[in-house]
Structure formats: C-alpha cells, structure tokens
C-alpha cells in the first residue's frame, strides 16, 4: 500500500508521469486564464484571452514583420553574451588557476556583480547612444561579472590530486592546465554559460524598453501605448519560448559533449 503513494520523499517519478505533470500545469494555467477572461471578470483591454493572444501572435508574425524583431532580440542577446564569454572564460580560468590574479580581480568583480545592468542604461545612452552598442553593452555587463565569478569558482574546485597525478606523469604547469584543469572544468563551464545565457534574456527586454526601434521589447512598449495586452502577452510568451528552446539546445549539446560527467 505504502509503496503506491505518489508523494514520497526524494523518490524520483517515472518519465511518463513527469511529462504528464509538467503538461498538466500548463493546461491548468491556461484554463484559469481562459476562465478569468471569458467570464468577463477582468476587462479585455486589461487582460487578453488565451485565444486572442494566439491570434495576435499569428498576426504579429504574418503581417507586422515580427520575425525581424525576434531576430534582432536574439542577435543582441547572443552577441552580448558571446562578447562576455570570450573575455570571462579565459579570465575566470586564469583567476581560478592563479590565486594572485584572483586576489587582484576578485574584489572588483564581486562588487560589480551586484550592480544591476539595467541601472547602467541611462549612462550607456549618454556614452554610446541608443544604437546596438548600448544593447550589447547591457547584456555584456549583465553576463560578464556573473560568468567570471562562476568560472573562477568552478576552476578553483579542480581536484588537487588530479593536478598532482599529472605532475607525476610528466606535465608542467601549462600542460596541467590544458590537460587537467580545462577538461575537468569544461562540463561545469558549459553549464555556467547555459545559465548565464538565460540571465541575458532577462536583461534584453529592459534594454529594448528604452530607445529601441526594433526587438521584442520595443514591440511590448509600443503595445503598451495602444493597450494591446494581447500583443504584450504574446511577446512575453515568445521570449519564454525562445529562451526555453535555446536552453534545451544548450543542454543537449552539453550532454553530448560531456557524456563522461553524467551519472552512470
């Protein structure tokens, strides 16, 4: 009897049950949303119904060139993120491996991490204008410090006994970094990149709310002026979907690349 209970402490559920429960949430959510809007409890211009949202999403893509906006947003996120990664990955590895380098940069990076990227927007508009550079810089600031610290921590956690084993097998410092530190940290670095890319998505809309002429955030601001809640909700859902897809793709690639680090 006890064995059949659904709720058991820390006991994993089967794949089918997992999918079923995951889908169930969305069904319940959309049903509640539909109930609230169709029943007239909330005025239409405050909250569009699910069906209306789907229709406007279709309309956005089909007639209003929304594909271009989505493309612009993706390019800004990916561009800013890649810029951050290109510097943060080597810097984080250097900081994690060599403690004097960490001692030099760590206090500043730790401080900078708590500066909200969105607070820089007014300053960045003064410095680099309202063009693409401003959007990329916001994403860069949002991702860079976080990523640097995460990678420093991951690399610092490299097992010392593995480094020692490499030394006794004939490695010098550079070889030990290349053949032990990097491959050992790679799966977690990839995981950190995945998480920080997600962070990038949360910053982009704020960057696009001010002084943008394209992008999902720009569409959302425009729709606010028109009280087109259906468009706003469609925009939000699409950000979620794009984020989810990029996250899943990233996860798949990581699993393929680092099969050795997965559980047996």
């Amino acid at each position: 009897m006890r064995e059949d209970r659904l709720m058991k402490l820390l006991v994993p559920v089967s794949r089918e049950k997992r999918t079923l429960l995951g889908v169930a949430f969305f069904v319940v959510f959309v049903a509640l949303w539909g109930l609230i809007t169709w029943s007239g409890a909330v005025p239409k211009h405050f909250l569009a119904s699910p069906w209306q949202t789907v229709q406007s999403a279709w309309d956005l893509f089909a007639t209003q060139g929304f594909t271009h906006d989505v493309g612009m947003t993706i390019w800004r996120v990916v561009g800013g993120f890649l810029l951050a990664a290109v510097i943060a990955v080597p810097l984080g590895i250097a900081m994690g491996t060599y403690k004097p380098i960490e001692a030099f940069f760590e206090p500043f990076v730790s401080f900078a991490r708590y500066l909200p990227a969105s607070a820089f927007i007014p300053l960045l508009i003064l410095w680099v204008g309202i063009g693409e550079a401003q959007k990329l810089t916001v994403i860069f600031i949002g991702c860079f410090f976080q990523l640097t610290l995460m990678i420093t921590m991951i690399v610092s956690a490299t097992r010392r006994d593995l480094i020692e084993a490499a030394y006794t097998l004939g490695c010098q410092d550079t070889a030990a970094i290349r053949r032990v530190v990097l491959p050992g940290a790679a799966p977690e670095i990839a995981e950190a990149l995945r998480q920080v890319l997600g962070l990038g998505w949360t910053y982009i809309i704020v960057a696009e709310l001010i002084g943008a002429s394209s992008g999902i955030g720009h569409m959302i601001t425009d729709s606010q002026a028109l009280m087109a809640t259906d468009n706003i909700i469609a925009g939000i859902v699409i950000i979620g979907l794009v984020g989810l897809i990029s996250d899943l793709a990233f996860k798949k690639v990581n699993q393929r690349l680092f099969a050795w680090s997965l559980q047996r």
């Binding site: 084993a165 097998l169 053949r179 790679a186 680090s261």
Partner: protein, 260 residues
C-alpha cells in the same frame, strides 16, 4: 647500488596562523633504496610516512636534507617517479586506455607506440575488455589497477605507492597485493610502498621500514627473505607469523605513543 638516497630529510609544516607552532611531520630521516628493492614503509596513521613519499615524489619540498635519484637531486615532481595515490586519481574524462597513455602522450610518443605499451599494461593488470570504459564505470580495485598501469606505462625509475589499497575491501586488497607483487617479480622495478597494514607490508616487501609516531623517524628496518615467487600461503608460515608478531609490537608501541 643505491637507486634512491634519502639523506637527513626532514619536513616542518608552517601552521599558517600566528601564535600556533609549526608541525614537525618528519624528523630528519635517512634511507637507502637499492635497485629493484621493494621497500614497504609501515607506520601508524599520521606518522609522516605519506609526507616522506610526497617528498620523494617532489610534491613537497623538504625543510632539510637531500633526496637523490640515481645520484641527481630531486627538485620537483617528474615522470621518472611514478606515483599511485590512495585516492582515486584517474582522469574521469579519459577512458582506461587514454588514462594509461596520459604520460606517453606528454612524451610525444607516436600513437602506434602508445597503443602497444598500453595494450601490454592493460593485459598485465587484467583489464582486457575495459579499454574504453570510463573510470566511473569501474570498481575501486579496477581503478587502482588502471592507476598502477598508468604509472608503470611511463617506465619510471621508481614506483611510489601511497596506501593504494587502503580504500578497498579486504578480499580485493589481498588480490591486488598478489597482482602488484607478480608485476614486480616479472618486471623488476624499484618500489616504495606506504602502508599501515602489517600483513601487506611483510607480504610484498624485500625490506620493511618501520616509522615512529609523529614526528616521524625510522625506528627499525627488517629484511624479508621469503623466496620469490611468493604465494599467499606464505602468510601462514611460522616465519611470517614471527615477523608479524615483532612488527605488531613495534607498531603498537608507536600507536600508543601517538595516542598520548
């Protein structure tokens, strides 16, 4: 002929905190290890026997004294001293074969040569069929067999083992001892083996070095003259028992000293 000379080597670890006195792990010790000797270093836990091995490996620098390998002083870790650690130190992202080839690749050996050497050692440690397994897929005993093969594949002048079977269950440990002894009987290698297990120390050694409680120093050196090849049956012989009784007394005294 002495392959490894340890001359008045002592080690003091600074405490790192003001007001806390430094720890003397090893009182200056001297030890000569001859070519093809199998030395086991026996001592209670915390006696500095691992420190001695790490000094020979070059992973620590002595506070005093010199260590010479074939007459040349040791200044850091290197491929001429192979080490098998107590913890499992296979590279988890490399297969069994890639782990064994790790040092060979560092020497820029050709792929064909790497394959030939790894093939030989995989067979010697009985891991045929596991070449492409990852360490995670192996038992503790198998992992240590790979670690031994990895160290031997580099053809070091001396093989250093730091309680390599300490984490294994008793049955596996006994089998591993026979495996290592068999390899040594065949290949003739100079070996320094650290352990706290008296049976293990006697069974494999040509000489047992007993260390005192911290700060470690060498208390006794006993030759073990059982003929080779040795079989596990030697462990029940009266000579073995006598040696074991004597070492038990030595270690017991030290363990009690360490406790007080």
């Amino acid at each position: 002929m002495s392959r490894l000379s340890i001359r008045n080597v002592g080690k003091i670890f600074p405490s790192g905190r003001r007001g806390v006195p430094p720890t003397e792990a090893l009182k200056p010790v001297s030890l000569e290890i001859g070519d093809n000797d199998f030395i086991t270093v026996l001592g209670p836990s915390g006696c500095g026997k691992s420190t001695l091995l790490r000094l020979v490996a070059g992973l620590e620098t002595p506070t005093s004294g010199d260590i010479l390998l074939d007459g040349a002083p040791i200044s850091g870790p290197g491929a001429d001293r192979g080490v098998v650690f107590q913890s499992y130190t296979l590279f988890p992202w490399l297969t069994v074969r890639e782990n064994i080839c790790f040092g060979l690749r560092e020497k820029n050996m050709s792929a064909a040569q790497q394959r030939e050497i790894s093939e030989r050692f995989i067979a010697q440690v009985g891991l045929r069929g596991f070449e492409n397994h990852y360490p995670k897929q192996l038992s503790g005993g198998m992992q240590q067999r790979v670690a031994i093969a990895r160290a031997l594949a580099n053809d070091p002048k001396i093989l250093l083992l730091d309680e390599p079977f300490g984490a294994l269950d008793n049955q596996t440990r006994v089998l591993m001892q026979e495996l290592l002894l068999g390899i040594w009987e065949q290949a003739q290698k100079t070996v320094m083996f650290i352990t706290h297990d008296i049976d293990e120390a006697i069974f494999m050694a040509s000489r047992v070095v007993v260390m005192s409680a911290r700060p470690g120093r060498i208390k006794a050196e006993l030759p073990v003259d059982f003929p080779h090849p040795r079989s596990y049956t030697v462990k029940t012989s009266p000579e073995f028992m006598a040696l074991k009784a004597r070492l038990t007394e030595e270690i017991r005294a030290e363990a009690m000293a360490a406790d007080h």
